[in-house]
């Protein structure tokens, strides 16, 4: 499935969350990751994030869709990173 993760976490944890998510997804904007995940990977990501964050303090939202094509993604301005696999 295609997942967008948006996080708002304390500044002392923000690096940990970012570097962990980099192992699975593309960093498209500050505090926003996007990418294709399997069900198992998604569960893994969620449970690891649960360990990383302060539950009473931080907030993470997961937007998921069965396929990227069902998400109407539009861009305006200069994207932070290109997600192409041909470099």
């Amino acid at each position: 499935m295609y997942v967008v993760i948006v996080y708002d976490v304390g500044v002392e944890r923000v690096n940990k969350v970012r570097s962990f998510l980099r192992e699975y997804m593309n960093w498209v904007q500050n505090s926003v990751f996007e990418g294709e995940l399997t069900k198992a990977e998604f569960l893994k990501v969620k449970s690891r994030l649960k360990e990383l964050i302060e539950i009473n303090h931080d907030h993470i939202i997961f937007y998921s869709s069965r396929d990227k094509k069902y998400l109407g993604i539009e861009n305006l301005g200069t994207p932070k990173a290109d997600t192409n696999n041909i470099i």
Binding site: S19, F20, R22, E23, Y24, M25, N26, W27, G35, E36, T38, E41, A81, D82, N85, I86, I87
Partner: protein, 333 residues
């Protein structure tokens, strides 16, 4: 699903924050470690030893291609899927001439089946050349029927060579003049079509090798090709089946839709290669092709072309283990 990453630029690959960074003057690109299936390196890449051990640990092979786009070699990670039993059986099928011949024939049979499918598909809407193509189809079928009489692998390979030659002659009828093969040449390919075929074949070869890595098969024990070559020759065997399915179809598309121009090639007739632009266009098509899914009859679900290669290898292991006779994949769609 894991993806292949194709790196055409020069730069450094390093391990940072437990994932893989690609950096060069123009900037950096982060490859999520859990999303990499294999890396195809076309540019001048520098590696830190950290990234090499990390990729090995994760079981990700890197395939290297030189400046000209020819296959150079692979960093094949330590085998983690080991089965002594299967290796012994694989060797048994190589050593027994009858069993080897049978398997070698299967690969050619599969390749031919797909070749014929391609010809029929492209002749369907072309009334002007239909008759000529029909003739080629008949001669290919006659050659194929001789396969049963072949007593040695080299004679089988000769038959295969003849079939390919007929196939390429038939393709020359279909393609516009600019893209005629005339004669198949390698190292260096001498015209546009040969260049495209060479480039594509090396891709299939590497992809198959990556898939073999994910099975318990030993990539050096092969049946159609001799295993003594310096290459992982089992990958050459299995690639035969997929070349017409993947590469020839891509080339048809590129040519028929006029997606290539002179800027896609460099060098001159007699020594022609793909330029960076050409490589990019080809790789994009190739990547899309691998991700394309079809409905699999036996499994009753959608599988990607890449997955089909893996399934083919599973069928091969079943054959050598004596569980099920190997039947090569012939496009049914």
């Amino acid at each position: 699903m894991r993806e292949n990453f194709y790196i055409l630029q020069d730069g450094i690959l390093k391990r940072k924050e437990n994932t893989v960074y690609f950096e060069n003057k123009e900037g950096r690109k982060i490859l999520p470690i859990n999303k990499i299936s294999s890396i195809f390196a076309y540019g001048n890449l520098s590696f830190s030893s950290g990234v090499v051990s990390y990729l090995s640990k994760e079981g990700i092979p890197i395939h290297f291609f030189n400046y000209y786009g020819f296959y150079e070699g692979s960093m094949y990670p330590r085998e983690t899927l080991i089965s002594g039993d299967l290796v012994i059986r694989q060797a048994e099928y190589y050593l027994d001439p009858e069993k080897r011949l049978c398997l070698a024939g299967k690969f050619i049979e599969g390749a031919c089946g797909n070749i014929l499918k391609n010809l029929k598909y492209y002749a369907r809407n072309r009334e002007d050349i239909q008759e000529i193509i029909e003739n080629y189809v008949t001669s290919i079928k006659t050659e194929l029927s001789r396969l049963i009489d072949a007593e040695t692998v080299p004679s089988m390979m000769r038959t295969e060579g003849k079939i390919r030659e007929l196939y390429y002659n038939a393709l020359d009828e279909i393609f516009p003049e600019e893209y005629r093969i005339i004669k198949r040449t390698r190292r260096p390919p001498n015209n546009k079509m040969n260049t495209l075929i060479s480039f594509g074949n090396s891709l299939v070869y590497s992809t198959t090798l990556s898939e073999i890595y994910n099975t318990q098969l030993n990539p050096t024990i092969s049946y159609l090709h001799e295993p003594f070559e310096r290459r992982f020759s089992l990958s050459l065997d299995v690639s035969e089946i997929f070349k017409p399915i993947l590469i020839d179809r891509i080339i048809f598309k590129l040519v028929n839709k006029n997606m290539l121009d002179d800027g896609c090639f460099r060098g001159e007739i007699g020594n022609m290669l793909l330029s960076d632009k050409g490589k990019k266009i080809f790789l994009k098509e190739y990547d899309e092709k691998l991700k394309t899914t079809i409905k699999h009859k036996g499994l009753n679900k959608s599988v990607s072309y890449k997955r089909l290669i893996r399934l083919e290898l599973y069928k091969l292991s079943k054959h050598v283990l004596g569980a099920e006779n190997y039947k090569p994949l012939v496009m049914w769609w």
